[in-house]
């Protein structure tokens, strides 16, 4: 029969763990809300940016920029993997690595020159374990990535892309679709596909603004376009970082919720076993006493 005291000890330790996981869940919920607000703020920015783009194209500007042109025969590729610094967030980092590793091997076979940048300790360690060398590691991004930091990385990428140090940039990150769905996705950010993708409503708005007003462009539409393209690239990369941060918090929230629930189930089960063990111990003791009394009688 199981030892009642040992069972009680186990039950206590599980209770403590449940306290921790519940707190982590609450913290993740609070952080998720904050991260979500920031993700909404960036859409306000990209919406306005795509409005500018659509009025530029409505004015008949030729949308042509070195960042927009696809490059034939890419020789060097850059891959940026966005993972988290902390664990205990379910399958979040595993999903990212599962998407990133085959893509990296694939690119190595077809193009050859691949350098990998990673953000987040989990991703750094995961890739190291899988024998993939990384060029740059970032660990400064937590639940609220700062635009300044992303801007630095984005400017570095743009500079290297323009000077021809690499011909393609792939970003592996977890896309936030809804609270119940996040997907590890791979997006090619450079060459920059099309400008309208920068904002979600870019296509729908282009119709209205073309017939409402004629804009004055200062200095010229071309000069503005030259500046818009890098800016929307930066905004898009920033959006990737924010999406990754939101998804991480959601993943942690769900993982910790599951942990709290299963801790509760475990406690119930252990309590039952404990009560049974205690009962049988008492029964045993009573039997002993009765046996002793019976022995003395005779």
């Amino acid at each position: 029969m199981a030892n009642a005291r040992a069972l009680d000890k186990r039950r206590k330790s599980i209770r403590n763990i449940r306290k921790i996981t519940r707190t982590m869940e609450l913290i993740a919920t609070a952080r998720y809300k904050k991260a979500m607000d920031r993700a909404h703020a960036v859409t306000a920015y990209t919406d306005r940016l795509s409005q500018i783009v659509s009025s530029l194209s409505a004015a008949g500007t030729e949308v042509d920029h070195p960042l927009l042109q696809p490059r034939e025969n890419p020789k060097a590729v850059r891959v940026l993997v966005l993972s988290s610094n902390r664990g205990l967030c379910g399958g979040y980092n595993a999903g990212i690595l599962r998407a990133a590793v085959p893509r990296i091997h694939d690119l190595k076979e077809t193009i050859g020159n691949v350098s990998v940048d990673v953000s987040g300790k989990r991703g750094i360690n995961g890739l190291k374990f899988r024998g993939i060398e990384t060029a740059a590691n970032y660990t400064q991004f937590e639940d609220q990535p700062a635009y300044d930091e992303v801007d630095k990385i984005a400017s570095g990428f743009l500079e290297q892309y323009i000077t021809g140090q690499f011909d393609r940039l792939d970003v592996v990150y977890t896309k936030f679709i809804s609270t119940s769905r996040q997907e590890a996705t791979i997006e090619t950010l450079l060459p920059f596909g099309s400008l309208d993708e920068g904002g979600d409503s870019g296509v729908s708005e282009s119709g209205d603004s073309s017939n409402t007003s004629q804009y004055e462009f200062l200095p010229t539409a071309e000069s503005i376009l030259e500046e818009v393209v890098p800016t929307s690239f930066k905004a898009k990369l920033f959006k990737c970082f924010l999406d990754a941060a939101v998804s991480e918090q959601v993943a942690r929230m769900i993982a910790m919720k599951g942990a709290t629930e299963s801790a509760g189930d475990m406690i119930n089960q252990l309590s039952m076993t404990y009560n049974r063990a205690r009962q049988s111990q008492i029964t045993g003791e009573i039997m002993e006493i009765i046996g002793g009394v019976e022995a003395l009688k005779s």
């Binding site: 703020a41 306005r48 940016l49 700062a146 635009y147 801007d151 007003s213 004629q214 200062l218 500046e227």
Partner: protein, 128 residues
């Protein structure tokens, strides 16, 4: 109805208020916007944005970006918007010195240096 001035950065909507007059730091100098201005899209430089509101004048340092004026609404899209009072003049002067020391051996480097110097000069001006 007075002008509405909205300043949006990727991180948040920094400012959304009414003003009688807005002075924007365009890439080639200041541009004043009053009520009833023709629609315009313009490139911003690094400098000070001034607002004339009912509560008094306000100043912000703007870090490049775009201005979009339409129907008495001034939209400013920028990477950073800092109230001019919060800028440290000593710090901005130091960043100007650092920018001036950057190497400029190739055309790309020269361009980077020029941008850094312009940005730092804008900060120094705004912090005064």
């Amino acid at each position: 109805m007075p002008l509405r001035c909205v300043v949006v950065t990727p991180e948040r909507t920094q400012l959304d208020r009414e003003a009688e007059y807005v002075s924007l730091p365009m890439f080639d100098g200041e541009l004043g916007v009053m009520q009833g201005r023709a629609p315009m899209i313009g490139r911003l430089g690094y400098g000070t944005m001034k607002l004339q509101t009912a509560a008094g004048p306000e100043k912000y340092y703007i870090d490049g970006g775009f201005a979009h004026v339409e129907g008495d609404v001034v939209n400013v899209l920028t990477g950073k918007a800092i109230p001019a009072d919060l800028l440290d003049s000593e710090e901005s002067r130091q960043s100007l010195e650092q920018a001036l020391e950057l190497p400029a051996k190739s055309p790309e480097e020269a361009q980077l240096k020029a941008t850094a110097v312009m940005r730092a000069r804008g900060q120094v001006r705004a912090s005064r």
